[in-house]
Symmetry: C2
Subunit: 386 residues, 2 copies
DNA sequence: GTAGATAACTTCACTTACCGAAAAAAATAA
DNA sequence: TTATTTTTTTCGGTAAGTGAAGTTATCTAC
């Protein structure tokens, strides 16, 4: 019948999935601990771990002196080197690539050269991939897939980037192109989605069922995990926080309407505004620096922007009641006026009862974050297929 | 592993559930049609329908002359009279109760007398329940449960109303009280959730996986269906659209902050504003009537309110990308200035690509809607348990 | 050193919930 | 009456679990 509420036994859907999830969340667990934490019977744990051990996905650690009665436990852990994944974040100017292992550790990184067309991108990526494999000493056959994160509208199921303003792309079959170029399975997703998957798989959201991810770049994107699953929306357009109307009398947005969040807090708009106000800045760190030294224009811009973002996120929190909101700051605001204003605006615009139960986390702009997140998409797809 | 995206074979989770869902969506289906629409094998359909036929949940219709070759189909339908459900909507002044069958048809309705305390409510409900059963000619044993919808904060799992400003309740164990009073299983939920469940079960959302429901009363509430399941949020607080900040310089809200949607578009606030402006109105129909006859204050109030609601819903649409938004208007605006303003504000504040793919539906204030929705909660719980 | 005690793990017989293919049923068409 | 066609059922099989009993590896106490 139509479900009203929860799935059967959250967050697990199968014994195998439960074991992998539990071992992604915990460095190592014994079989009995696995049975305990997942609710799966010891019998099934034996069966599942046996299969995984045979495949080399799991390893047994040499059992320690027990120090107490009874048969000593045998600790199991995911064999991080069992599978490797590539991740690429396609940006306007640069294009970082990483290779990660099964646990999301970065083994090698590389910054790809600029490119013009998707075909050129593929060629560049293929060349870089070869190099990265060589320097990491990993044979191509051990790399189980590549994930690509782009800023734009993506049809993940079809592997197509429908539209990207930043890249000037329209209906580019990225997955297909990449599969051909790198000779490994490829997936593509929006960067906010990628970050959310990355946090769920390898990051701080591993234990969370419901959370949102906000990515601050030239524009602002978001993604939602709901009931332990990435929620894309009815037709894949969920998360368009950048075009929430914040100020109906605000300036014209690229989308044709006025006062979208992007026009006030988006990196692109903020840089334009700073320039228009006669401030010469490279990135947001410079703007924050100016504010720190008492520049009133810089302070005002950052405060207004942070406040607008906070108000929008407050709406998100009250509508969806996530356990946590991750901000991924690719613009380099760091801790400053902007973040303070954002936090304050969130706190001032949500009901008291949300205050204690909603965690707000800012990720610093770490260049490898996006490509690593992209790799986590490939990791998910791989683990889902075994 | 942590799920990234879809469950296995949406929207069905089991053959039995698939059969019930399909027969709630379609008046009648043959076994082969059931197999076709659900993707479940004919063998399993035989098995499942046999069980359900034995229990009396399904009936075979007398097979018609086929008019073509082959074994004629046997149409199956849900036996609506297999189970009955009670539904109560606890309001500030009145308290409508209905009895519905398995398909959500209302067999009997009753408006309960006013009450003061939860204990009194239970006594009144018990008395009314007896009467309603007698006049409907249904033995109590055939009623499988009662659902209670309240306007307020509810812990559905525990069956407790945590707080209701309208009813002046705090931590009232409604489910327990009702179970004792009516001698049938009882459930309680927030009224926005109840309406969402009702639309999903018996209403226009039967075929939708992702939709939201907005309930306009003294205050404004909302609920989300996501991936075919009611989404309550991390700690059950999802849907607080009434306290989205719409105008930071707005009037003080009961929640202690300024410019919440409730203070501009909530029925309570709107009535207060009308009174303050010297307009004497009973309900919103009166206010719309005044606007229709050219009263500028009435028009302004309605337009501002409708616009604020529309802007908030536009945020919801862009964040969650639902397939449909249902408005349940318990205030009686009907088609008028308010709804027009709401629709326009939604259209003006969402990206073009959401325009075509988001359905906006207004439900007229139908007194039986809330109690019927409440009954659908009991129906869900019953169907989920068999 | 050896006999419990104890806890971790494995084995085995069983269940549930399905599926695919073949068989049976019930009609029409020739 | 027989062939044809379509629906439904039966039957054997499988995947993924469970619970209970058995096995293994260690510690403790005498």
């Amino acid at each position: 019948m139509p479900a009203r509420d929860k799935p059967l036994k959250p967050p697990f859907r199968s014994a195998r999935g439960a074991v992998i999830t539990a071992l992604l969340r915990n460095e190592q667990l014994s079989r009995s601990e696995l049975s305990e934490t997942t609710g799966v019977s010891p019998a099934a744990i034996t069966e599942v771990t046996q299969t995984f051990l045979q495949r080399g996905l799991l390893v047994e650690l040499p059992s320690q002196a027990a120090g107490r009665r009874g048969r000593p436990t045998v600790q199991l852990r995911l064999q991080a080197s069992h599978a490797y994944f590539a991740g690429i974040s396609v940006g306007e100017s640069d294009m970082p690539m990483v290779i990660t292992d099964l646990r999301g550790r970065i083994l090698e990184r590389h910054n790809l050269a600029a490119y013009e067309t998707p075909a050129e991108l593929a060629k560049t990526a293929a060349k870089a991939f070869k190099e990265v494999l060589r320097s990491a000493g990993i044979p191509r056959s051990r790399v189980q897939g590549v994930g690509v994160a782009v800023s734009g509208i993506v049809n993940a199921a079809e592997g197509v980037c429908r539209y990207s303003a930043a890249l000037n792309w329209r209906d580019v079959p990225v997955a297909q192109v990449m599969t051909k170029a790198l000779h490994i399975p490829a997936w593509i997703d929006n960067d906010a989605n990628a970050v959310a998957v990355g946090e769920k798989f390898f990051g701080r959201a591993r234990d969370l069922e419901h959370f949102s991810s906000i990515v601050l770049e030239r524009t602002i994107g978001s993604a939602h995990y709901i009931n332990g699953m990435l929620y894309r929306g009815h037709d894949g357009s969920a998360g368009e926080i950048g075009h929430i109307t914040v100020d109906p009398k605000g300036v014209l947005c690229r989308c044709g309407r006025n006062g979208c969040l992007d026009t006030i807090a988006g990196g692109h708009a903020l840089r334009d505004a700073a320039k228009a106000a006669g401030l010469t800045i490279g990135n947001m760190r410079d703007l924050e620096e100016l504010a720190l030294h008492g520049n009133p224009t810089a302070t005002r811009l950052l405060r207004v922007a942070g406040n607008a973002l906070g108000v929008a996120v407050a709406s998100l929190v009250q509508l969806n009641n996530p356990q946590c909101v991750f901000f991924t700051d690719m613009e380099g605001f760091d801790n400053g006026v902007f973040r303070t204003a954002t936090r304050q605006a969130i706190e001032n615009n949500i009901l008291a009862r949300f205050l204690g139960s909603t965690q707000i986390i800012f990720n610093n702009a770490e260049p490898a974050l996006l490509p690593r997140s992209a790799a986590s998409i490939a990791a998910f797809e791989y683990l889902n297929s075994i």
